[in-house]
């Protein structure tokens, strides 16, 4: 748990430092006025790629949990495209995504509460809907 917290601290500090916690900066990227945000995503992905590649070759299991080292691979289906599209409309409209919204609160941006409440509502509506339509209920948890 302390390690998860420390990881969160680094993650949030990074979102603050990169200015991605400010919706204006994300929007200026999507307006194609300032493409710097590309470096946030690829900078971060470069670190995770190196970690996910090297660590499993050095150790069998994680010291704190005994968990195995895997990669984040999810099956592809139509939902990835549909969900990605809906996410894109929301991201493009507001300039917020989950991680940056949490971090935004941390830099004192209280209007972001509206965005976070919106995200919870959206997650709630789709969750209740999909729990009823059941096909997803048996899907393995991730």
């Amino acid at each position: 748990m302390p390690l998860v917290f420390a990881g969160g601290l680094l993650f949030g500090f990074g979102l603050g430092f990169s200015h991605m916690a400010r919706p204006e900066v994300v929007l200026s990227f999507l307006y194609l006025d300032d493409l710097g945000l590309v470096f946030v995503m690829f900078g971060a992905a470069a670190v995770t790629a190196a970690t996910f590649f090297v660590v499993p070759r050095l150790r069998e299991r994680a010291p704190l949990t005994g968990g195995s080292y895997g990669r984040r691979l999810k099956p592809f289906d139509r939902k990835v495209v549909v969900g990605g599209g809906v996410f894109g409309v929301g991201w493009g409209l507001s300039g917020i995504c989950p991680g940056s919204a949490y971090a935004s609160l941390g830099i004192g941006n209280y209007p972001m509460l509206a965005g976070i409440i919106g995200m919870f509502l959206g997650a709630y509506v789709q969750g209740v809907w999909r729990s009823k339509t059941s096909a997803d209920a048996v899907e393995a948890p991730d």
């Binding site: 748990m1 390690l3 998860v4 917290f5 990881g7 969160g8 680094l10 993650f11 500090f13 603050g16 916690a21 999507l30 307006y31 300032d34 493409l35 710097g36 995503m41 900078g43 971060a44 992905a45 995770t48 790629a49 299991r61 994680a62 195995s68 895997g70 984040r72 691979l73 999810k74 969900g83 990605g84 996410f87 894109g88 409309v89 929301g90 409209l93 507001s94 300039g95 917020i96 995504c97 991680g99 949490y102 935004s104 609160l105 830099i107 004192g108 209280y110 972001m112 509206a114 965005g115 919106g118 919870f120 509502l121 959206g122 709630y124 789709q126 969750g127 209740v128 729990s131 209920a137």
Partner: protein, 164 residues
């Protein structure tokens, strides 16, 4: 991915009015956060599952119930994100910073983000950082889709005169 290769070669600085330092360093920290958790626990932490796992505290719907085992550490991770950003703000920022983006955009956009990230199996950190870092084809597709749609939406919003 972005069709700007030609102009980039012509005048690269016009596209980076704030330089790249803050973005690259920030990105490294984001990646480091994920890496630290992975090395210690084997867990690959994205930001958006927190929404559903936290809803499992108040709802018994099966979509949320399946995240019960991870809901406690996800709260801790999210609190870390908030406080990490606060550390940044205390060190580098002059007091609190608030957005001028209209509240309805945050709310409606947030709602769509909440639906989309869960239906689409990931967000900017899940697909963009963890999935791309895993060389996951699913995540590459996810990122390309939401990036292109987001750019299109933002351009359209701007064309309609919605600012800020």
């Amino acid at each position: 991915m972005l069709d700007v290769t030609a102009p980039l070669l012509v005048d690269i600085e016009a596209f980076f009015p704030h330089g790249v330092y803050r973005y690259a360093v920030g990105g490294l920290f984001v990646g480091l956060g994920v890496a630290v958790i992975y090395v210690g626990t084997g867990i690959i932490a994205g930001a958006s599952t927190f929404l559903e796992s936290t809803l499992s505290y108040v709802s018994g719907a099966s979509r949320f119930r399946r995240y019960r085992p991870s809901r406690d550490w996800r709260v801790v991770f999210t609190l870390g994100i908030v406080l990490g950003a606060t550390v940044y703000a205390v060190v580098y920022q002059d007091g609190a910073w608030t957005t001028d983006v209209q509240v309805w955009r945050l709310f409606v956009g947030g709602f769509l983000v909440g639906v989309g990230t869960r239906v689409g199996k990931g967000c900017t950190s899940g697909h963009g950082v963890c999935g791309v870092g895993s060389a996951s084809r699913t995540s590459f597709v996810g990122v390309v889709v939401f990036l292109l749609v987001a750019i299109g939406t933002a351009q359209m919003t701007m064309a309609l005169g919605v600012r800020p």
